[in-house]
Amino acid sequence: MKKLLVILMVTLAILSMAKVKIQFWHAMGGWRIDLLKSMANEFMKLHPDIEVDVQYTGSYHDTLNKLIAAVKAGNPPDVVQIYDIGTQVMIDGGIAVPIQDLIDKDKSFDIGNFLDQVLNYYRVNGKLYSMPFNSSNPILYYNKTLFKKAGLDPNHPPRTFKELLEYAKKLTIKDKDGNIVQAGITWPLHSWFFEQFMAVQNAPLVDNNNGRTGRPTKAVFDNEAGRRFFRLWYELSKNGWMINTKREDWTGARQLFGSQKVAMLISSTSDVALMMKLAKENGFELGTAFLPRPEGAKRGGVAIGGGSLWIIAGHPKEETEAAWEFVKFMASPEQQIKWHEGTGYFPIRKDAVEMLMNQGYYAKYPHHLTALLQLLLSEQTYNTRGAIIGAFPEVRQIVETAVEKMLNGEMTPDDALAWAQAQATKAIQDYNELYAH
């Protein structure tokens, strides 16, 4: 009896020792924290020998900065979700195990099932460094109920910049003192929308084919396409047809739209699930549409936004293997569908999309279809593949500063854009200096 107990204890001890513990950092706030935890729990059920410690580490920007600090301090996580624009700085840091290397070794995994648009974004110089995970693009959400009240056709959302201005004007209501009771539109004060509207017009942000054929040396967005968008933003705001949020305030923009203070919202497709819920709670009918384009502009597309999963090097072999299992799991069709349904990030793989189509999912949830179609119908050019810039986080901040300078009347739209381009070029050159040889 006693012997049995000893054996049992030893076995337990070995088992618990054999359990590989990995850390996973992510930047998905709000209701998505629990969703990711439940996905990790499902993974642990399938892999009882692996324990995943899931941690929410703040915004994308914060997560990258925390990773940098952790790498320098010598205790980085095993898996970390990094935003799209952090790709180059991650590659330059040389701290990750390229996913491509793991794929090449693992015959069970077929990257061919992934959407081309997604792979095109995350492949740099033909190599995949991280596992695509959450991808989205911006769409136009609109309040059909308020459209009807304003005498607009709820089935004809604005398609061009000109229409957008007209609609926003008609949807704005001011009281007798000139205070805004209801505004036409909002979107978060975020550079991402600038980047996306450049892609919509098939225009590049930086040289060397948007950084896809070599390290970019300068910003090139001070052009007709950039000016059109800056002027649109200015025009909408100046007239009170648009409410601007604080910098990168996604929540604020969502609340404005959810509470029907504004009639239209441009935001990420990752909000689809939340928007459907908000529309139901607040009793209005939700519409979604592609991003409007300037009239007569060449048709481009939208670039992928979102994040991917990186496996950080320097951990014991078992941990890296466990991390690879976890990353594969998160990119599997079942998990991608679950993630898609819970958020609105579209599935990153063709087989998942097919499964959903066969189930009649998109007939039931047309808003999810808007998001997917907009991406699938995008022209595939260097400009819609998204820019690769080492100093991208700083360039983003520069664009946002420029927008604020424009909105508070310090600069005209054209001057603000030119200023942003000059500053961005400086940031890019500073960054490149480090990699000159």
Binding site: H61, N65, I68, V71, K72, V89, D92, G93, G94, I95, N179, K246, R247, A391, P393, E394, Q397, T401, A402, E404, K405, L407, N408, G409, E410, Q423, K426, D430, E433, L434, Y435
Partner: protein, 285 residues
């Protein structure tokens, strides 16, 4: 032997955590360092050149000067005025004192939070009051130049008690008949106060100005971070906020080190002024 042993703990800490970092930042200011720290190139003085050519950095110096200058002036005069009143020891003074001193114990971050709420255009009481009485409605934190006014307001509110405490202590040493004459003699009393009492307290004023400069240059970081995050645009980005952004948001360790060195330089000047004028011209009681 004993005094040296007694000094070991203090000097161990200030050498390791103040002097070593200071020297270290001089060294780092000559390098450019990649975000993950895996590349480091020697650039000599080019980081400094870059900073002084950068319109953003020059702007941050200007904003710092304006913000610190106005805050110090407002704080010192308000505090002096309040101290004079408290010194009259009218009935109820202990209660007024307690209420007026409270912000001293409140952190800059919380000061920023309270004022962010009060100045909120939708739910804040200040804006309600202003629009009812004067018919003005202002986006305090997101528009120019109001964002700077808002910061100064929150900063002065927080620091006035500190100065008042010192003035009040200092006034105790001013001869009573002088004070009496100054504060109770009707119309001409204020001129007398400024001419007689204020100069008598110049050592305290000098000390407070120096302390306030340090406080507004550095501790105000929390107020700015909470209230405006340096915005709108980079309008309220002061030197310390710029340093924080460059170091911890954009991971430009080399440039940020150069910014530290510039701040040391400014503090060296302040220290020099303090010793030079403080020791010679001003006498402490």
């Amino acid at each position: 032997m004993i005094p040296y042993v007694l000094l070991v703990p203090t000097f161990a800490i200030i050498v390791i955590f103040i002097y070593w970092p200071a020297v270290y930042s001089f060294k780092m200011s000559f390098y450019r360092i990649s975000p993950f720290g895996n590349r480091m190139i020697y650039t000599g003085l080019r980081n400094f050149g870059r900073l002084f050519q950068s319109s953003e950095y020059i702007h941050s110096i200007k904003v710092t000067a304006i913000y610190v200058g106005f805050s110090v002036l407002l704080t010192v005069f308000t505090a002096f005025f309040i101290a004079l009143l408290l010194n009259l020891k009218v009935p109820g003074t202990p209660v007024y004192k307690a209420l007026i001193f409270i912000p001293y114990a409140i952190s800059p971050a919380i000061s920023g939070t309270l004022w962010t709420f009060l100045l909120n255009p939708v739910v804040g009481h200040v804006n309600y009051f202003l629009s009812k009485t004067f018919g003005i409605s202002v986006d305090w934190l997101t528009s120019k130049p109001y964002a700077l006014y808002a910061l100064i307001l929150a900063s002065v509110w927080k620091v006035v008690p500190f100065d008042t405490i010192f003035y009040l202590a200092g006034i105790q040493d001013v001869p009573d008949d002088l004070l009496e004459a100054a504060t109770l003699d009707g119309a001409s009393s204020w001129t007398k106060t400024w001419r007689i009492v204020f100069p008598l307290l110049s050592p305290i004023t000098f000390y407070l100005v120096i302390m306030n400069i340090i406080s507004f240059m550095f501790s105000s970081f929390a107020i700015i971070d909470v209230m405006t995050s340096g915005g709108p645009g980079d309008y309220t980005t002061t030197m310390i906020y710029r340093l924080y952004l460059d170091a911890f948001s954009f991971q430009k360790t080399g440039i940020a080190s150069a910014e530290s060195v510039i701040l040391f330089g400014i503090m060296a000047v302040v220290t020099f002024v303090y010793f030079y004028f403080g020791e010679r011209k001003v006498h402490y009681q």
